[in-house]
Amino acid sequence: MTDFAPGIVVERDFPDAARDALANTQLRRNIGKATNTIRAKRLKVVGEMPDWQELREAGRQIKAQVARHLDTHLLKLEEAVTAAGGRVHWARDGEEANRIIGEILARHGAREVLKIKSLTTDETGLNSALAQRGISAIETDLAEVIVQLGEDRSSHILVPAIHRNRAEIREIFKRKLAGTENLSDEPAELAGAARRYLREKFLTVPFAISGANFAVAETGSVAIFESEGNGRMCLTLPKVLISLMGIEKVIPSWRDMEVFLQTLPRSSTAERMNPYNSVWSGTRAGEGPEEFHLVLLDNGRTDVLADEPARETLACIRCSACLNVCPVYERTGGHAYGSTYPGPIGAILTPQLNQPGPAETLPYASSLCGACFEACPVKIDIPRILVHLRGKIVGRKKETLAGKFSGEAIAMAAMARIFGSARLFELAQKSAVIGQKPFVRGNVIPSLPGPMAGWTAMRDVTPVPKQSFRQWWRAERGAESSAKPGGSA
């Protein structure tokens, strides 16, 4: 089985990982096709909602309330789940969550456990932690099956195998599943193969693990949104069910579901409603699992909560709309982000759940184009948070000697000094005209050294003209300008 635990430890700088991804034409074609398809679908189902902006705003407000009173809502949730016959566990980090889940399964002597697609368990690296205990986790979401059998890694929040096309999937199935010698590459046939492979597991394995899309504090109800029915199988048939959720997934009241039942499906699968949504509260005689455990995971989330300008990161409902509209994600795919959480939301969430290191390159993996903010169903201002995180990184670097005297820090300080005075600015303009001389060829600068080499790899640079605007103005209108308001300070 694959071993990428835990899923949020970034190992490579984004620009390096992106360079490799950009060179993979198959990946580019698969991701480009998929993101363009889902963008058009999303625009259609969002476009038919005249009250979409009001729904986004309500979602934002609900999630803001969740964050501002997280302790209250979690305690209420704990009380309600317990009253409904469930058991609540608290985990400070991924390792603790994995241990809690492992111990529950070990107590029951489990050798195999079914899994519904869950980002949070990928974040904690649960599958490999269970494997170390001799328990094999069986993924049941089709895309997760493809990823698991392909010994691969997820590259998208919603469609983990988005980077694979039908031909590649057929090859994976033929290698790993019995009775697939004559399998075609028709999606319906490929899905059929997965149905046969999993049916027997659903009916025989009495343990299941899920994540949670929402948990209602008021009623102790947990909600799972899905498409295939694998979720319903895992939530209904096994005897023991364990759900792992990030602490930010709690919502105060049942009524709040009226918002997310509308915004999540249209933003994620781009449907009016995804095929199945399940809601359950604890356990119930003669209906579903006999034992239910809810594991509440912190794993860095309280640090995000403490950083007020970045707090709204926790509002994310993991719909993946931001990935699908992101021009960077469209070209690099998800693996370049090196995390369970790729794309724009990953670029802000991953570094906040990580130690300083390669994850610090993620807030720069964006042109700040704003497409993510526009698409976000809970109005997370991702570009603003990217900039905020860049500020924190710069602040941290300034505290070290190497960082303080880095080329970038020196250049930025120098520019700020120049912009601090119109006289110095004009002087700099003039020096640029002289300084650029060795590089100008005709009307352009085709090549520059140092950090600007990346630019001129593919783009010419416009040379600085001899006369700046201010020089022209002074020459043409010099006398009148100084009389005008603000003309001279």
Binding site: F14, A18, L22, P327, R331, T332, Y364, A365, S366, S367, L368, C369, G370, A371, E374, V387, L389, R390, G391, K392, V394, G395, E408, M412, M415, A416, F419, G420, S421, A422, F425, A432, V444, P451, M452, G454, W455, M458, R459, D460, V461, T462, V464, P465, Q467, S468, F469, R470, Q471, W472, W473, R477, S481, S482, K484, P485, G486, G487, S488, A489
Partner: protein, 247 residues
Amino acid sequence: MQVSLFISCFNDTLFPQTGQAVVSVLERLGHSVDFPMEQTCCGQMHLNSGYRDETVGLMRRFLDVFEPCDVIVCPSSSCVSTVRTSYPRLAREMGDAELIRRTDALAGKVFEFSEFLVRKLGVEDVGAYYPHRVTYHPTCNSLRALKITDAALALLRNVRGLELIELPKSEECCGFGGTFAVKNADTSIAMLTDKLANIRSTQAEVCTAVDNSCLMHIAGGLSRERSGRRALHLAEILASTEEGMRQ
């Protein structure tokens, strides 16, 4: 109307002809333009790169220079967006009541050039003549932060002789993104390559926009193609007339 020009450091240094075009159009429409000579930079690059302390200094300076002005017009949507959106937010993050008041007041009187013409002056036809095939790239700040694409397109539709061709996938970023183009040069280039292909598909001679920073990025790529296709700021198209044909 008395209009104060905020040229932006980028245009001042690299694209003086854009500023000249703005002056020419506004004066043609009978307005009076002044240029506060003390202006330098709004701090956008520092802000977006995470250099907050430096940004705050430049913001204070900007306020000092432009506060006496009644109406401020700038031919760069990203700079307008910095002043209109980022300044008030930065002031709030700092929790400085006086700065909040000052930035809010300033935000209400700074306009992007095309926005100013159409939304403030109610002018869609500035009497321009530009007999070329042109496509319009809505830059991210003009499209999503300021939402002024309609204004720019209305102005272009009223330019005599101009053939406006719709740019496929126009809403996608060109890949500039300030320091993004350098820090993530490979991804930026991949984005630019697709933008260039879309521009090429329109067979337009000129790609126009309201931000010279994005246009310099696009022009830098077009120039490598040796197709003669070029990038030109909207103001320069609007400034050209039958009497004084400008390139």
